[in-house]
Amino acid sequence: MAPVIIATDKTQLTQFSGNKSAYPVYLTVGNLPKAVRRQPSQNSCILIAYLSVEKVNRSKMTELEHRSRVQRIFHESMKTILEPLKQAGKDGVRMKDSKGAIRQVHPVLSCYVADYPEQCLVTCTKYGTCVKCCQDALHLEDIEPALPRTKKWTINVIQQAKNLSRGSSVKFHQHCMDNDVAGGIYSPFWQDFPYTDIHHAITPDVLHQLYQGVFKHVVEWCRSIVGEKELDRRIQVLPYGYGLRQFRKGISKLSQISGTERKNMAKILLGCVHDIMAPGGVKAVKALLDFIYLAQYSTHDQITLGYLRDSLEEFHKYKQYFVLVGCREHLNIPKLHSLIHYIQAIELFGTTDNYNTEMFERLHIDFAKQGWRASNQRDEFPQMITWLSRREKLISFHNSLHAQLIPTQSNPSKRVPKSIAKYPNYPNRSIPLIEQLHLAPEFRRHLKQYLNTFISHPLSGRSLDQADLPDLFTVNVYNMFRFQPPALQDNNEEADTVKAMPISRTRPHGRFDTVVVMDSDNAEATGMAGIV
């Protein structure tokens, strides 16, 4: 079987002026490991279509008709494009695999990656309700999902509406909307797809649902509780830290916050609010951040999924805090609701990095935007298509050359586990100076203890305390080292830098990174036990 993953996402082609956009449809298969799918150079995601971006002429149309028209154009287009999948899914098609063996393959639509407005469009769900279950808009904050939406259920509602409306599109629309189904589609494109339930196929979306959705709300709430100025001040005075971004102007002045910026905020938010908000609020924020990070694990098992469930329950236990302090009147937010469907999606389709939207947003740059730039920007789509085909041929030729000519060469790059500069930043520093400028009190004693371990007859207890280092004893000081910890993910080399900068005029507090050293194998994946 070939599990087909489809992604659609409208994107702007022009950056500042002009109003050109493209609506690409991407396809990839679950047979490839996610690490391979993620590499845009590999040609493992294929752009299979550009949907229409022509504006629907609103003249002589009611708002309702206009919206229905947009929905129908989308579904008719997708029906045309994905038509071959129907027959092939049922009967299978013969395909050569990359080793030349012929296989009978059943391509089945498994995941559909899109942001929330498109999820509603694809699944024929009324905007503002859940695409996965029948929970009504006023109870989205409940932790228990309602009965699941199914393909059969949605098609039934549409069929009923057809029977009741007797040709009146207004009545049809009304009946559908009363049942939380979008009211413009008579035959959804996924109607006859074998083995596919579109409501299942909609997958969680870490970037838009968690960071740009729920976390964005939480930052807003924290800002109103802590106060805009105070939160900014706290963020500005944060010391340097490894992997932490400095928000020098605070966060309230930022406009159009990107996903990366959100991720950087998530790292520091809790530390900036914990002593102002009531314990309940802090617990809610902490639980939510836990959920965000756990949801991104690249491997889950029953235990870690349990942690994910725990953090969700913890959040729901304390979430009322935000209503009590008046940040919101209710928490019936579709994106917040979507969290309760994460565990099921991970169990069904693997971890969230299999179907995240970031991967496809990256492709926009490669496929759509570069193609746009290569065109003369008049009647651009035929040119963009030609550009794409040529690019694919180049990559394909490159790949087959590699496969035939160059034997598989595996060169595990020789990596140095730790490295420091060739010359010390501060040669021959005296010990009192180190204790003072490098904020290392008791450095003399610890150095003594350390050196003592090299002596063949180590001194013990009091005699060690009384022994002294020679007066002129100096030490070379380096202010940073690099190291390469074992990569957490395949094909993903990591390099870390640890800095320990002494106090100076420009840096009145110095900079001292925290290093966590594991001294035994008994560490837990999520806790600090066993780590000193």
Binding site: P3, V29, N31, D301, N399
Partner: protein
């Protein structure tokens, strides 16, 4: 040189009430796109054809989820359908998946 992932097609949609408003879609056959991924020699070492159940130890109680083939969906469809008679999945799938 033939197109790698199928030929592009163009279709224009219009609706009865407004035949002048046309909506153009440009697309290619998704089957050809899948074929091109499967045939790509760069993917030879990577392709996985059947679902797997992976557990953290031999007691088979703690199931692990990461890649798509470790999920329950693939398993439920490929295994249930291979067992039903009307479907003709290739034989090796049954052997590997059981």
């Amino acid at each position: 040189m033939p197109d790698r992932a199928g030929e592009w097609m163009t279709r224009t949609l219009s609706f009865n009430d407004k035949p002048d408003d046309e909506y153009t879609i440009r697309y290619r056959n998704p089957i050809d796109a899948i074929k091109s991924i499967w045939e790509d020699p760069a993917n030879a070492e990577h392709l996985v054809f059947s679902p797997k159940k992976i557990f953290s130890d031999t007691s088979r109680t703690n199931r692990i989820f990461n890649e798509m083939w470790t999920g329950k969906w693939w398993h439920s469809i490929q295994v249930s359908e291979t067992l039903s008679s009307h479907c003709n999945f290739s034989k090796f799938v049954v052997v590997k998946a059981s």
